[in-house]
C-alpha cells in the first residue's frame, strides 16, 4: 500500500501545477514578454512552434504533474487489491470545537482507486491531446488553460479521495468552479459566457440539495455520538446505516438531498439543460469534464453513499425512474441534433442515465463498470470530434462529410468509439451496457421493468444517432466546412483538410485500444490468466456494498445487440443509401421533430416561465415589495440607530483624562452595585 504522503501527492501534484502556472509562470510572462510585443508576434522569444519557452513549460508541467498522479494511482490500485480494499489511512483533525468535529483524510476503498485511475488516465491523455488542440492559443491563454485543467484534475482527485462529507463537498464545489472557468474559457464569446453561467447555476440547484442533505445528516449528530460515531465521516455513515441509526424516512431524506446533487452534476432530468450548452468550452474540456469525469461525479456520489440509498426503497425507485427516463429522453434529442458535440452531449446524458438506472436496481458494480468503460469511449468520441473540428473548422455536421479519406486514424477511432457506445459485443461499451440491461431485467417488480424497457429503447436510438453522426461526418462528399455559405460564426476557424498532429492522434489511438478491449479485459466472463473471472465486481464487493455478480445472459445480450444494430441499419438506410428519406420523415412527423429540435422546450420552460414569469414576475416582485417597504425601513432604522448611538457614545470620549479616570470609578461602582442589587 502507498504511504499516506504519496497518496496526498496524487492530489497535490496537479494542485502544485495549478499554483505554479497560475502564480509564477503567468506573472513571469507579463514581465518577460510585454503584452505589446506578444501582440506583434515578436519572434525572438518564441521557439520553433511559435510558443515561448515559458508558455510551453506550462503545458509540460501540467502533463508531468498529472502523469505523476496517474502512476501513483495505478500503484494505489494494485496496493488496494493486495490490501483487500481496506483503507489504512487515519483521518486528521481539521477543526474540533467541543462536540463539533471536522476531519480531513483519505478513504482509499475500491471505488476510490477505480475512480482515481479513470480520472488521472483520461486527464493525462486529454492534456497531451490539448498540446495540439490548443496550439492556436497565445501563450497567456495556453497557460491559463493548463492552470484550469490542473485545478480541475486536483479538485476531482480531491473529491474521490475525501473521507469526510464536508471535505467532499468542498471539492465538489471546486469541481463546479473549475468547470465554470473552463466552459467560459473563451470568455470573449457571449455564448460561452452564457453557457458557463447556465452550467454553474443549474448545477448549483442540485448542490443546494446536497448541502441540505449534509445539514440534515448533521442534525442526527447526537444519535451518532451516542454510538461513538461522527456524522460527517463517510465510513461512520456506513456503520450508522448498518446499525440502523439511519433508516426509514431519515435515510430517504438524506438520500434525496445527495441525489439532488448528483442530478445536477450528472445532468439528469430535469437538470439536464446545462450539459449540451457546456459544449461551448474547448473540446478537450468537454472530453474530460463533460464526458469522462465531472459528470460521472454524480454517479460516483450516489455510489459513495450507496448504503444510505439501499436503506430507502423509495429513493431507489426514484433513481430507477429518473435514470431510465433520462437515458431515453436524452437519446431522443440526440436523434435530431446537428452539432456533433451536442449529439455526444445528449449521448453522455443518456449514458449517465444508464448508470443511474443500474444504481437504482442495486447493481452497484455494474454502474461503476459502465462509468469506467464510458469514460474511455466517450472521451475518445469527444477527442475525435475535436480532431474533426481541427480539419473542417466547424462542429456542424451539415457542413462536414467525406472526412474519412483525409483523416483515416480519426475516422477509425471514431467508429471504434461509436460501436462501443452502441453497445456491440465484444467492444467495451457492449459488456457494460449489457450488464446494465441484465441487472434491470433481473430486478423484481414493475419499476425495474419500466426502467428496462426505457433503456432497451434508448439502446436502439443510441445505435442510430451515433452512426448518423459517423455517416454525416465522415462519409459522402465534403460540404465545405467553415467555408460553407450560411454557416454560423466559426470564430475565425479555417479548413485544413489533413490528419491532426501527432499529439492529438496519439491519445486517440490509445483510447481506441481501451474502447475495444477494456470492457472484457477488466471484467472477464472467465479467468484470463492474471485477471481473474469477474475481477471488477469482486474487487468492488470488498467495499462497503455487497455486490451480486450478474451472470452473462445469453438470451438478453443478443436481443439488446439486435436492437442496437437495427438502429445502426436505419441510420445507414437514411443517411448513406438514402433509401429512407430523412426529410420526408421529418415532414411527416413534423410536430415530434420540432419538439425534439426545440429540446422539448425545456429551455423556454425554465427561462421564460419559471425564471421570468414565476420568479421575476411573481416571487421576486412580492419580495421586492416586502424588501422595499418593510425590510428597507427596518434597515434604515437600524442604520440610523447605529449611527446615532455611535455618535452619542462618541460624546463620552471627551479627551479629558480626569473624566476617563472618573469613568473607571463609575464603572467599578456600577458592577458592584448591580451585584449587590440583584443578590
Amino acid at each position: 500500500m502507498l504511504s499516506e504522503s504519496l497518496v496526498w501527492l496524487i492530489l497535490f501534484a496537479p494542485l502544485a501545477a495549478f499554483v505554479i502556472i497560475g502564480f509564477v509562470i503567468r506573472p513571469l510572462m507579463r514581465l518577460v514578454i510585454p503584452v505589446a510585443a506578444q501582440e506583434h508576434g515578436d519572434d525572438s522569444t518564441h521557439s520553433a512552434h511559435g510558443r515561448s519557452i515559458l508558455g510551453g513549460s506550462a503545458g509540460i508541467l501540467a502533463i508531468i504533474a498529472i502523469g505523476v498522479a496517474f502512476v501513483l494511482s495505478i500503484v494505489a490500485l494494485f496496493g488496494s487489491i493486495d490490501n483487500h480494499g481496506d483503507s489504512p489511512y487515519i483521518a486528521h483533525d481539521w477543526l474540533t470545537v467541543g462536540n463539533l468535529e471536522f476531519t480531513i483524510g483519505i478513504l482509499m476503498d475500491p471505488l476510490t482507486t477505480i475512480m482515481l485511475v479513470v480520472v488521472t488516465s483520461v486527464s493525462l491523455l486529454v492534456q497531451i491531446y490539448s498540446v495540439g488542440y490548443m496550439s492556436h492559443e497565445d501563450d497567456r491563454g495556453y497557460a491559463r488553460y493548463y492552470a484550469y485543467m490542473s485545478l480541475f484534475s486536483a479538485s476531482m482527485i480531491g473529491l474521490v479521495l475525501a473521507s469526510n462529507i464536508v471535505q467532499l463537498f468542498a471539492f465538489w464545489e471546486l469541481v463546479g468552479l473549475s468547470s465554470y472557468l473552463l466552459i467560459g474559457f473563451w470568455f470573449t464569446r457571449p455564448s460561452a459566457v452564457a453557457a458557463a453561467k447556465k452550467a454553474f447555476i443549474v448545477t448549483r440547484i442540485g448542490d443546494f440539495g446536497l448541502l441540505l442533505g449534509i445539514m440534515y445528516l448533521f442534525f442526527h449528530q447526537d444519535a451518532f455520538t451516542a454510538a461513538g460515531l461522527n456524522s460527517l465521516d463517510i465510513v461512520d455513515i456506513y456503520t450508522a446505516v448498518d446499525a440502523k441509526i439511519i433508516a426509514g424516512g431519515v435515510a430517504t431524506w438524506i438520500a434525496a438531498g445527495i441525489f439532488a446533487g448528483a442530478v445536477g452534476k450528472s445532468g439528469q432530468f430535469p437538470l439536464h439543460t446545462w450539459l449540451p450548452d457546456a459544449m461551448e468550452g474547448p473540446t478537450p474540456v468537454s472530453a474530460l469534464i463533460h464526458a469522462a469525469t465531472m459528470v460521472a461525479a454524480g454517479v460516483f456520489l450516489v455510489a459513495r453513499f450507496f448504503p444510505v440509498f439501499e436503506a430507502s426503497e423509495t429513493m431507489m425507485n426514484v433513481i430507477i425512474l429518473i435514470g431510465g427516463f433520462t437515458a431515453l429522453f436524452a437519446a431522443t434529442m440526440g436523434l435530431v441534433a446537428t452539432d456533433i458535440k451536442r449529439v455526444l452531449a445528449y449521448s453522455t446524458v443518456s449514458q449517465l442515465g444508464y448508470m443511474m438506472l443500474a444504481l437504482g436496481v442495486g447493481a452497484y458494480s455494474v454502474a461503476i463498470f459502465h462509468l469506467f468503460t464510458h469514460a474511455f469511449f466517450k472521451a475518445l468520441l469527444f477527442l475525435g470530434s475535436g480532431s474533426v473540428n481541427h480539419a473542417s473548422g466547424t462542429f456542424d455536421m451539415r457542413y462536414m462529410g467525406g472526412l474519412r479519406k483525409v483523416m483515416p486514424i480519426t475516422y477509425a477511432s471514431f467508429v471504434i468509439g461509436g460501436i462501443s457506445l452502441a453497445g456491440i459485443l465484444p467492444f467495451a461499451g457492449g459488456w457494460s451496457k449489457d450488464e446494465v440491461l441484465t441487472a434491470a431485467w433481473n430486478g423484481a417488480g414493475a419499476i425495474p421493468a419500466i426502467g428496462f424497457w426505457m433503456a432497451l429503447l434508448a439502446a436502439g436510438m443510441t445505435g442510430f444517432y451515433i452512426f448518423r453522426a459517423i455517416i454525416l461526418t465522415f462519409h459522402g462528399d465534403f460540404r465545405k466546412g467553415a467555408d460553407a455559405e450560411g454557416i454560423e460564426d466559426t470564430h475565425g476557424a479555417e479548413v485544413h483538410l489533413k490528419e491532426s498532429p501527432i499529439a492529438m492522434v496519439f491519445p486517440l489511438i490509445l483510447l481506441s485500444i481501451a474502447a475495444v478491449g477494456i470492457g472484457f479485459v477488466v471484467n472477464p466472463l472467465f479467468d484470463l490468466g492474471i485477471v481473474p473471472q469477474h475481477w471488477f465486481g469482486h474487487f468492488l464487493g470488498q467495499g462497503p456494498v455487497h455486490v451480486e455478480i450478474e451472470d452473462f445472459n445469453v438470451v438478453l445480450a443478443p436481443i439488446a445487440m439486435l436492437v442496437s444494430i437495427s438502429g445502426i441499419v436505419l441510420a445507414f438506410l437514411m443517411y448513406q443509401t438514402k433509401v429512407v428519406s430523412a426529410e420526408q420523415l421529418g415532414a411527416r412527423f413534423k410536430p415530434v421533430y420540432i419538439l425534439l429540435v426545440r429540446k422539448y422546450y425545456f429551455d423556454e420552460l425554465y427561462e421564460d416561465i419559471i425564471v421570468r414569469r414565476f420568479f421575476y414576475g411573481g416571487v421576486a416582485r412580492t419580495l421586492d415589495w416586502i424588501d422595499g417597504s418593510i425590510i428597507n425601513n427596518i434597515g434604515k432604522f437600524i442604520g440610523w440607530l447605529g449611527a446615532n448611538v455611535g455618535t452619542a457614545l462618541r460624546q463620552l470620549q471627551t479627551g479629558q483624562t480626569q473624566e476617563y479616570g472618573a469613568a473607571i470609578s463609575i464603572g467599578i461602582l456600577t458592577i458592584v452595585g448591580l451585584y449587590l442589587w440583584f443578590l
Binding site: 477543526l95 470545537v97 467541543g98 470620549q653 464603572g667 451585584y675
Partner: protein, 501 residues
Amino acid sequence: MTTHDIYLLSPEISMAGLAILLILVDLVVSRKSILTIVAVLGLAVPLALSIVLWFDLTDQAATQMKADFGTEIVTFVVDKFSLFFKFLLVGATALVILASSEYVSKFKNFHGEFFALILFATSGMMLLASTVELITIYVSLELTALPIAALAAFMRDSRSSEAGLKFLILSAISSAVLLYGMVIIYGFTGTTVLADIATQLGGLLDGESAFGGNALLFGVILVIAGFGFKISSVPFQMWAPDVYEGSPTPVTAFLSVASKAAGFAVILRVFYIAFSAEILSVDWSAVFAVLAAVSMTFGNLVAIRQNNIKRMLGYSTIAHAGYLMVGLAAVASRTPDADAIIGPSGVLFYLSGYAITNLAAFSAVIAISNRINSDLIDSFAGMARRAPFLAGVLGFSMISLIGVPPTVGFMSKIYIFGAAVDTNLEWLAVTGMVNSVISAYYYLRVVKVMYLREPIDDAPVGSALPMKLAVMVTMAGTAFFGIYPTPLINLARSAVDVLVS
C-alpha cells in the same frame, strides 16, 4: 538563586540583555538600519531559549518548573502556558520591529532607545505570563506599563505627548485600583500566592452571597477593573482610542497585540488558579460575559463613525477584547459535561489569530501611511492601484477581522463562539455573531475605499524589504491557520492544561 533559576529566567534575561545591547550598538553605528537587523536576529535568542524550555518540560513529564528565589514562596514558574505566551510575544515583537524599520526614520534620534523600550516592555510581559504571585504580577505589570508610556510619547509632537501622558496617568489609576483589589484579597486570605489563595478561599466561601462574601466581591471586581484597563475592556477602555491615535503607529500595533496578550495571560492565570472555586467562577464568568457583550457592542458601534484608520483600529481592538472575554466567560463549571479547557484554549487561539491578523493590518497601514503621510481612511482611496500588494493584504486582514473564511479570524470566532454555546452562553454567541455583522460595515469600508474609489494621486506606493517581510509572514499565517487551524488549536489546548489540573 541557582544556575537552574537563571536558566528558567533566561528568555526574559536575554530579552532585557538584547535591549541594552541595542542601546550600545546605537552609539557606535551610523547606519540605523543595522539596528533592525540586530534586533530581529537577536530575538532568535529568547525564542530559542523558550523552545529549549518547552522541550525540557516535555522531556521531564513535568507540568511546570518553579524558580526558587530564596524566599519561602514560589513566584515564578515555567510551564507550557507561560511558554505559549512567550512564543507569541517574541513573535509579535519581532514583527513590530520589522514593521517599524522604516517608521523610525521619522524620529530625529534615539532609534536604539525606541527598540530597547519595546524590548523592555516585552520582557515585562513575558514575566507577567510566568508569575504566580500577586506582588510579582504587580511589578511585572509596571515593567510593561512604564516603557509603553514612554513609547507612546516618542514622536514628541503634541498628540503623541498627550497620548503618553494619558497612558501614564490612567495606567497609574488602574494600578491603584488593582492594588486595592489585591490588598482586599490578601486581607481575606493572608497570602499573595495564587495557589494558596485558592486553598484559603476553599473554607471561607459562603454560598448565599455573590462571590461567597461581599469583601471578596469588592476584591475580585477591583482586580477585574485593573486588568480590564490592560485589555481595554468597557468601561475601562477610554484611554485606548486617544492613545492609539496619538502614538507612533508601530507602538499602536504593539499595544493592540502584545499588551493585550499579556493582559489575558495574567487574567487567565489569576482567575483559573486563585478564583477557581466553582461558586466563584460562576460569578466572575457572569461579569466577563456582560463585559464581553458590552465591549463588543460599544467598540463596533463607535468604530463605524471613525475617519482615522488608527482610531478605527483602536475601537476595533475594544470589540475584539469583547470577543476574547467570551472565552473567559465560557467556564466549564457552567455545565456538567463541558470540555474543561474549551474557554481558556479559545482565548489563546483567538489571541494568536488576532495577533497575526492585526499585525498584518497594522504592517500594511504603517507601510502605506508612512509613504502618504496620512492616517485618514479617505486618503487610502484607490490604493489597490497604487500599492496592489499592500492593499490586498490590508483587505485580506480586514476580512479576517470580520471573521470570514478562509481566514484565521473565521476559525477563531467559530471556536470561541462554539465555546460559548457549549457552556450555555448561547445569548453571548448570538451577540457576538450580530456584532461580527455590524463590524463588517467599517472593515469593508476600508476595502471599498481602496478598491472602488479613484486614487487621489497616481504615484505608486512602494515599501522596503523588512516591511514586505512582515506583511508576507502575517498574511501567510492568516491564510494558513484559516485553512488548517488544528496545529495552533492543539498548541493552545496543551498550553492551558496546566490551568485546570
